[in-house]
Symmetry: C2
Subunit: 375 residues, 2 copies
């Protein structure tokens, strides 16, 4: 059948048995009062995880990239001018999606592997612009983009954020940062299978929602995901992915049980420990100190190592998935997920041992470095 | 936790334990060779179920309504003229989605509860039009729309079909009917949880795909879902909903094990049997003979019955979900799913007994009618 894998790549991440068990609970109807109660709970858990009081907070019935599409389809109109930070594949992707939607895109770029200087984003902003978009956690490079200073810069404009890989793994407080809309994915630091896009829009940004997409019509979706407090019956829009919502609820409960700040701290520790251990094996982190994304460690593969071959053997011989580089970094880097249950000592030790073996090196020093990072 | 329900509404339908078990298998990566093999298998199973040889046949990472959106986003451009059959909510929905996308919509309507005369659809067609769309199985009315005669009428234009509720439950042969593109949903006659939209496009229709949506970019998705025969590596587009694809595969295997024609026949038998049984209780089918959709029985509620109250008690006291009417039929009809494992004698008997009890009638005659239908 399916041979299990230790998922230490760029996502999906390891899914706890509790989440898989929740996924397989009996399917019920999308208008069943039992499901309504569960929706209210999921929305509330999402608000806590996003750190927002936004009314609109729910999982879109699509993957993380569908969250990006929903952001474009509902908040950007043809002709809008948008500043788009591009320092990796996911910034490129958003620039692409914005262009397809007829927006005028002002790109502010940084080298893949670096954060974009806030000043350059601020300088690119003009008062007649609609939105400024940044990728908070660049999955292609393992870089965290600071959000400080952006809210003030955009004034009446929208601050839009991709937090697919950062949510619940790297410090993020949407309301404190003044974010107007954000999307995430279920399969990264939330440790849920892929298929849902946690999504939120600030109440102040819901006054000019485009309804050009039927599927990604936030007004209509909100009529279904309305919170109990808003009164009135839920209006059918589309059939929610019931079982995936069960799983997301369980995953969010796990986040709540650990505590968001404790979880961020654990991810930071796990990142640092693994970085030390892989450093002992000759792998150097791409992101400079202070710019690293806790939940994704992107390292340069040492010269002389056939990265694709070793990565293939990690999968086939050791059952461990890690990810290769994308775009200009293809063949040069590995991307190692440090996400949820992947951000723990034991799976990391398994990876470090396997890498050492495949490189014909001793595992003792890197394992000691891992231990010291966790100590 | 979640109290199980007997799902005899308009969908989701009863999910077999085998499908739930598949859903909960360990998550693996979307680029894992194991998943690639599974994708090839799912595409092939989908082709068999759609009865098509189309290269493009895969589950979109969205619900059935997302399949509709993908059809609009990729096959219809602003300014296109489209004939849209409207004889229920799902035709209305498509007309709405087409209008939002900037198409000029020529509506051909029929009363809710009737099929649209083919001649009227054909008469509405003009040679400079882009597409003709019909809902093959109207979930809001339980009516099947014949596809015969439409292919010849549209010539170089596109024949587009919503088969959300009919796929694998009501006779449908996409290639024999000359359908250019069709979408379905996982949660109807396939008995999979909601969350995926089986989708197919004929090779001849892929030469003018719009790429205005990033998420619903069929060219790009096909680069990931490419069949083994086309050679080359799968190109990452978005992270597939791994576990939902496991479940869909299992659901499609169940269809294949039964045989598509045997399954259609069972649905027709189940529909007829339930129709007789509910007839004994005073419920009359909305669709006239010959226009009924096997997989959904829509019946008029007898005068004097408080349909919402009885329907509520079926759910709360008997754990059985059926659906009420939509739009102009709200308060007047019940919609009873006859889908996959819901199209069997035992669950139908449970429903018939519960309805009889709630109406204060004897169950013996309606149960005998059910038996005679199954005999």
């Amino acid at each position: 059948m399916i041979e299990p894998r230790l998922l230490l790549g760029s996502g999906p991440s390891p899914v706890p048995q509790r989440v898989l068990d929740a996924l397989a609970r009996p399917t019920i109807g999308h208008l069943d009062p039992q499901f309504g109660a569960l929706m209210d709970e999921v929305a509330e858990l999402l608000r806590a995880t996003f750190r927002t009081a936004n009314r609109v907070a729910f999982p879109l019935s699509a993957t993380g990239s569908g969250g990006m599409q929903a952001m474009v389809d509902t908040l950007i109109a043809p002709g809008d001018m948008v500043v788009c930070g591009v320092h990796g594949l996911f910034g490129e992707r958003m620039a692409d999606a914005l262009g397809r939607a007829g927006a005028t895109v002002v790109r502010v770029e940084a080298e893949w592997g670096r954060a974009i200087e806030t000043e350059r984003l601020v300088d690119a902003w003009q008062p007649d612009m609609r939105a400024l978009f940044v990728v908070h956690g660049e999955t292609s490079t393992g870089v965290a983009q600071p959000l400080d200073g952006l809210r003030d810069a955009v004034g009446e404009g929208l601050l839009l954020v991709d937090c697919v890989t950062s949510l619940a793994g790297h410090p993020l407080d949407l309301d404190a940062s003044g974010v107007d809309a954000a999307f995430s994915g279920s399969q990264k630091c939330l440790n849920c299978p892929p298929g849902l896009a946690p999504f939120t829009v600030a109440d102040r940004a819901t006054n000019r929602l485009s309804r050009r997409s039927w599927y990604f019509d936030l007004e209509a979706i909100l009529g279904y995901w309305r919170d109990a407090a808003s009164g009135g019956a839920r209006a059918y829009h589309h059939t929610a992915p019931i079982n995936m919502v069960y799983a997301l609820r369980e995953a969010l409960l796990l986040v709540g049980e650990e505590g968001l700040e404790a979880r961020w701290a654990r991810h930071a520790t796990a990142h640092e420990a693994l970085c030390r251990a892989l450093g002992e094996l000759g792998f150097e982190r791409l992101a400079p100190d202070g710019e690293q994304l806790s939940s994704l460690l992107c390292v340069r593969v040492p010269e002389g190592v056939d990265e694709a071959a070793v990565r293939g053997r990690l999968l086939s011989e050791h059952g461990i998935e890690i990810s290769g580089g994308l775009g200009p970094l293809a063949g040069q880097v590995w991307r190692v997920g440090v996400m949820g249950d992947g951000a723990r000592r034991e799976p990391q030790a398994r990876l470090v041992e396997a890498v050492a073996r495949e490189l014909g090196k001793k595992a003792s020093d890197p394992l000691a470095a891992l231990e010291s990072g966790w100590a």
